[in-house]
Every structure is written in C-alpha cells, then in structure tokens.
Symmetry: C3
Subunit: 323 residues, 3 copies
C-alpha cells in the first residue's frame, strides 16, 4: 500500500464512524487514524473480520475496534471491541470511504496542465500531453501524443510511454515501455451488488510496474482495492490484456495477447501465458508455470507445471484427451 | 427505434424504389413514407418478408407493398402486393439506404466544435473535447479529455464520461459512467458478403444506456441495425467488453472483462457473466442467469440457470464432467 | 518486404558484424550489404541457418556467409562460410539491428506536424491530427480527430480513417476503413526471453491492408518482423481483434470481434471466423474455411473445412461430441 498516492483524512471520531454505519454510539469518543486489515492495523486504527480463517490474525491484531457480524461477535469480543454490522464488507467500504474520500472518485482529472518542454529538459513530450498533480517523471523518459498522466503517478527513468494512454495512481519503474491506448490505474470492477444502485469497493491501492517491463497496446490494468496491483520486473505483456485489481504478476513473465485476469490472483516468476487464456480470481499460480493459449485456469497451479484446457489441466493430459 | 437520431427522407416514390431494386415499374406511382418490419409498418410504409415464421405478422400488417422472393410470392399475394427480388435482405438494405442516406456513413464527424465552458455552466469539460450536432448533455455531467461526442447523442444528468471516448447515435441515462477509451454507437458488423465488395446492413438503431449503469474502459458497443442496442439500468460492464448491434442487456446485470456478444441476443435482469465468456447471436438469456467465465453460450438459457463450459451447459454437469 | 519503410545502413564491414557477435575476426575484411533469409539473400548479403528444413535453400543460396551453430557447421561448410554462434536467432536479431538501427525503436514519433488543410485540398482532416515523415495520403481520404499517422505510412484513395487511431509502418489500399481506437504497425510481441532483460526480435516488416477492407474499433495489428503482416482485399475485421506480426490474411475474409492471432499464421481467401476464436502461431488455414466462435485452432486446416472447438475439430464432430 502506498498511501501517499491517496489523500487520507486523519483522526476521524469513532462516533462518526458509528454514525456512518447507522449504529448508536455510546461511551467515550476517541480518534481513529485509519482502517486496515487485522495484520497491519495499529492501535489507533479500526479493522474488520468476516471469516474464521482470520482467527490467528485476530489474536495478534493491535486494532482495538473490529467491524464484524453476529457470527464472529463472541470470538472478536475476546480480543477487541466488536462493532456489529449486518454486512461486513459493504460497511468496511463505507468506512474506508470516510478515510479516503477520493478513493472512488474516478471522474477525469481536471487539474491537469500542458507541460512546458523548457522546464522538463530531460523529458520528451508529444503534442497535447496532459499532466496532473503529484506526478514525478524520471529523466530520459518520453510521453507520447495525447497521453494523460493524471494525478498521483511516479514514472522512472528511460521509460517510453506511448500515445493515447491514460495513467493514474501508478508507480512505474525504470526502462518501462507502455504502448499506445493502454489505460492504467483506474478503479477495479469490484462492488457489492445492490438492487437499484451497486456499492463500489473502495480502491486505495495503486498499480506498480517493475523495471524493464513492457505493457502492450490497448491494455487495461486496474489499481488495487485494499492492496496494490503489481507487475514484476522484465515482464512483457502483449496487446489487449486485462489485469484486474489486486493481481500480482511476478518477474520475467510473458503474457501474450488478450489474456485476462480476474481480481486478486498472483503469478510467480517466469510464468508464460498463451493468448486468450483466462485466470480466475484469488488463485495462486507458481513459478515457471506455462499456461497454454485459450486455457481457463480455475484452480491454483504449483511451480513448474504446464497446463492447458478449459478448465486447465496438466498439458500431457490435455493432449492425450484431445488426441 | 429513435428515428429522430437519423435523418430520414420522406415520401419516396414507389417507382424510385423499384428503380433502386433494378425492377421495372408499371402502374400508378405513389409516395412511400418509410421501410419497416411487418409489425410496425403503416399503410404508407413498405415492408419485407423472407421467412414463414413471419406469416402471422404478414396477416396483420398494414403495409401494402412487401419485398419478398418467389418462395413467398403466393402467400404475400394474399395480403399485400409482393415486390419480387432475388435476395430479400440486401434489397431491404438498399431501400433502407434510400430512406436513411446517412445510416451507413460512419466517417468521422467533422461538424464538431470545442465547447465554450462559459456557455455550459453545469457541465465540466476536459481539454480537447469535441461536440457534434444534435447533442444534449444534462447538468452536472463531466466529459473527459480528448473525448468526442459526435452528432446525435443525448446524455443525462450526473454522468461521468471519461477520456479518449467516442460516442455517436446514443441515448444515455442519468448517473451513467463511461470509462476511458470506449467507443459507443458506431455501426455494427453486419453485412451481406459479396465477392469484391461486401454490402453493409443499414444501421438506423442507436445505443441506449439506462440510468446508473457503468461502461468500463476500452469497450465497444455498436448501435443497432433495424432496432436499438440497449443496456439496462444499474448494469455494470467491465473493461474490453464487446457488445454487437441489437443486443439487449437487462437491468442489474454484471458483465465482467473481455466478454463478447454477437448480434441481436437479449439478456434478462440480474444476469452475471464471468470473464471472457462469449454469447452467440440471436439468443435469449433469461433473468437471474449466471454464466461462468470463459463459457461459450450457443443456445437459449432459461431463467435462474447457472451454466458454464464451451459450449455452455448446466454448471453442475460442467463441474461433474470436469472432475 | 518493403525496405523503403525502414532506414537501412549499407555496407557494414564483416569485421564489425563479427565484433557485434563477440567473435574474433581473422582474414580479409569485406562489406556486407544486408541480412536476409537463405532464399532471398544475394552474394553480398549475410544469411542464417538453424534447422535442417532449410537444407534445400542452403544448397541454392547466394549468400557467402551464414550464421549458424555447431550442429549445422559441417552442412553449412559445404556451401558457404559458417559464422558459428551459440544462439542463432538472437545473433540474427543483433546483426539485423546493425543494418536497421531503427527497427526496434518504437518510441512515439516526435517529428510530426499538424497538417495544413489548405495544402491538402482533397483530404479531410479532423481536429488535432498529427502526421509524421514519409507519409503519403491519397485523394478523398479522411483522417479523424486525434489520429496520429506516424512516419512511414502510405494510405490510398477514398479511405476513411477514424478517430484516436495510431498508424505507423503501414501500406493501406484504396477504399479502406479503419475504425476508432485501432493501433496499427507497432512492433510485434516477439523476443528471446532473457533473464533480466528480454531481447526483442527485429521488426522490419510493415502492415499491408488491401483495397476495400475494413478494420474495426480498438484493434491491434502488429507489423512483421522479417516479413510483412498482410490483410487481403475486401476483408472485414470486427472490433477488438488482435493480429500479431507476420500474419497473412487472405481476401474476402470475415473476422468477427475479439478474435486473436498469434504470429506468422496464414489464412486463405473467404475464411469466416466466429467471435473470440484464437489461432495459434505458424499455422496454415486454407480457403473457404469456417471457424466457429470461441474455437482454439492449434493445427493447420485444409480448404473448405468447417471447424469448431477447443482444440478446434471438424464441426460435425464437435456438434456430435457435445450433443
């Protein structure tokens, strides 16, 4: 998490948080500094629990107040003060929005300016480039025509950013190439379906792209919700690839055209993925994995595996089954 | 159909229609007002018939003149005056083009202007925005950088239209978000293959997007040919989705990244579609249907079904077959 | 190959080529004119051999010097002078880069200008159009808003180039339509994976699009590496299609939305491909072939076949297997 990329309110009264959750507040008020998961919360932060698998984290958390539901009330009660809500995650979303009021505002950035080439002697700008606030661009980097670097972006040295690109909430290493038409850093497609008006997850993660990597044309890489979306070093991504929020791609990976990732999956290093393959959400793909073109990956894949098919299975089995 | 979006010629002589179809015209000339399907045609319109399944409509049609071929000549003769051609649909395309001479002209719109922010006090424009003729934009709506609202577009209140977007021939509700790089309202990919030079369907439908919906980045949504392409209310569409002409998506649907629709299919309400799934043309998908990621849907799906696979089948069967 | 599109150095000393390959050079130096495959090399060119299947070409080649490895040393020795390297193709890439120093430089083109409409009386330009060096545009052609025709592009007569398009290194016929948001002519996704820093193939091919063809919205068509990427005449391509380097599509083909091609495959004439189908690399698809939507084609397909499935098989078999 790179919170310097998002404006955060500090010291929100606990009573205000209760009010946001439509709960009555009784007792002595206190200031809350942030909302974080159980592992990273400090004593002045609020946290949340909605599954038994977080029990070990609960035991060690520094958070005093934990948003939860009646199912986990007793267990949370042993370690912290439970804040009881009906739906944990939408409540977390609402509280996160209190601390990060801009985390869901993806309206186009109107605080942009046309950079003055004389002021940026080591940067090559195309025509009609627009730059927002809180943007840092390294030396010998080029930014192509009509490209918009919205606010809260760091770009390293010797990068080549192409034409017609939109980037926001991203941290890009050195020697990175981003090709024409890609859209990087918008909020992910995560929300709580709600009749009449869906409720969006907060998105306070950014997109991090490692050194020497390449992002192809017309790609979409969404920023993370509560953690970051990461692309490793020397990882090459072809055209029309979609990478959803919180996905974590390792180093030296090769991802060919039209591949798609649902949210929150992680890839090891040296993973090769053939064209049009799809990776479901919340999966763990190991190192040195080869995924054949067109595959649909729906479960974890251990290191050094070769898989293909829909659903993806061992490559030898796929070839045998389709002989 | 929203014909106010398309310039229509009125009162075309029947003799001119015959000439367009390379037919000899004998008898008393008369003015024809429009070309419509059998159900919606009025007494001054021309219509067409190319399948027995339209027999019931033929019996009730108000149209006097019906384009058809020798196969349906006798049956049409009972109710209307048949106009005999070799290929019905290309002939319909040619006659439609007579009435709607701009229905296939998708050349970029050069009658655009840069909006004067002082004249649009309640609208937030980015840099390099271009607006065409016959465009209405509601209050508190924002239009991002480099976005082109070509002619014949209505946008509601409180909408967020992002950067690098092109919209034409569309009607967009209130509180709609359209994300960067999407292209909405171009003519669909329908044509009559013809050696040397394919003949395009006419496209006099528009794109209609309901209130509170969201269209992701780098999407393509084509306008309808003889009817409209519709997205319902509170329907959320992820990135890199393709929606072909005449598709009808219901309310409260969730369509994840890289899904594709061939033309003329309809979706009920509360349909959820996983990433990269494909929906063939002319299908009817019911309400509350869940379609797994990567599926290829090739037949109708009744209400409340869960399907997955290529071709898509009952989810339990898919899971069992792939255990 | 259309080398007038790429700047080529002439007469590079053989000793410099050896130095580039980190080999000791002994003997009399000589000038080398170009690097070409065995079939097209002339006596002053250098060539390469890395497979027995090129044996017949080796016997007839005019090249005197051939880059190869120890495996083919003896066979090459019979006809030419072998230049022994460890990895043939990366060495070829390095030597190609010597002759074509700009073949991998895909930084955005900063030598562009805004065309003066008065000077191009027969061409219709939108707003913010940018044109690079070595660009020829035919009469009655229109170029949409924000479109960038980078250097080394020839466009024929009566073409309609839409908005937000980027084209480089391409040769486009007459009556061609290219729709909004497409990116044509960037270098392909071919490289030699290398720990820390992948090595890119040279890309000295262009994109050639035949007369009367149409390229949909948000497509990506990469230029060729050692040969050209070709789209035939009267071939229609829908939205969000990806065509990789060296692909060769015939005449009168219909390629629907979200189809993807890996590199170097060839399609005959009158091929129809359904939505989201994928074609693996280095395949030969015959004439009059129909490929069903969602198919994954992994082997050659003879003329007049209908296939569907993943992997694609005879359509009747697919339908029977999935009854």
């Amino acid at each position: 998490m790179n919170n310097k990329f998002f404006y955060k309110k500090n010291n929100i009264p606990l009573s205000k948080i209760f009010k946001t959750l439509k709960l009555d507040f009784i007792g002595k008020d206190r200031k809350i500094y942030d909302i974080k998961d159980l592992a990273s919360a400090n004593s002045h932060d609020i946290s949340f629990m909605n599954s038994n698998k977080y029990f070990d984290l609960l035991k060690k958390t520094k958070a005093k107040y934990v948003i939860t539901n009646t199912r986990y009330k007793n267990i949370v009660d042993r370690y912290c003060k439970p804040i009881l809500v009906k739906n944990v995650l939408p409540s977390v979303a609402n509280v996160t929005l209190l601390f990060y009021p801009k985390s869901l505002d993806d309206t186009f950035d109107n605080n942009v300016f046309t950079p003055d080439q004389r002021k940026y002697k080591n940067i090559k700008f195309g025509k009609n480039v627009l730059i927002g606030k809180n943007v840092i661009i390294g030396k010998n980097t080029s930014i192509g025509h009509n490209t918009i670097i919205e606010s809260n972006v760091e770009i390293g040295d010797n990068c080549e950013i192409g034409n017609n690109i939109v980037i926001k909430y991203s941290k890009i290493g050195n020697n990175v190439k981003i090709l024409d038409g890609s859209i990087i850093g918008k909020k992910g497609f995560g929300f709580f379906p709600d009749y009449k008006k869906n409720i969006r997850y907060p998105h306070i993660g950014i997109v991090i792209i490692g050194h020497n990597s390449e992002i192809g044309s017309n790609n979409t890489i969404d920023r993370g919700s509560m953690s970051d979306t990461k692309i490793g070093e020397n990882t090459f991504i072809d055209n029309q690839v979609h990478i959803a929020h919180n996905v974590n791609v390792g180093d030296n990976c090769i991802i060919t055209a039209q591949v798609g990732f649902a949210g929150s999956s992680s890839l090891g290093n040296k993973v090769i993925i053939g064209g049009q393959a799809g990776i479901s959400g919340h999966l763990k793909i190991g190192n040195n994995v080869h995924i054949g073109g067109g595959s649909g990956v729906v479960k974890n894949i251990p290191d050094n595996s070769k898989v293909m098919g829909y659903p993806a299975k061992d490559l030898r089995k796929f070839l045998k089954d389709n002989k």
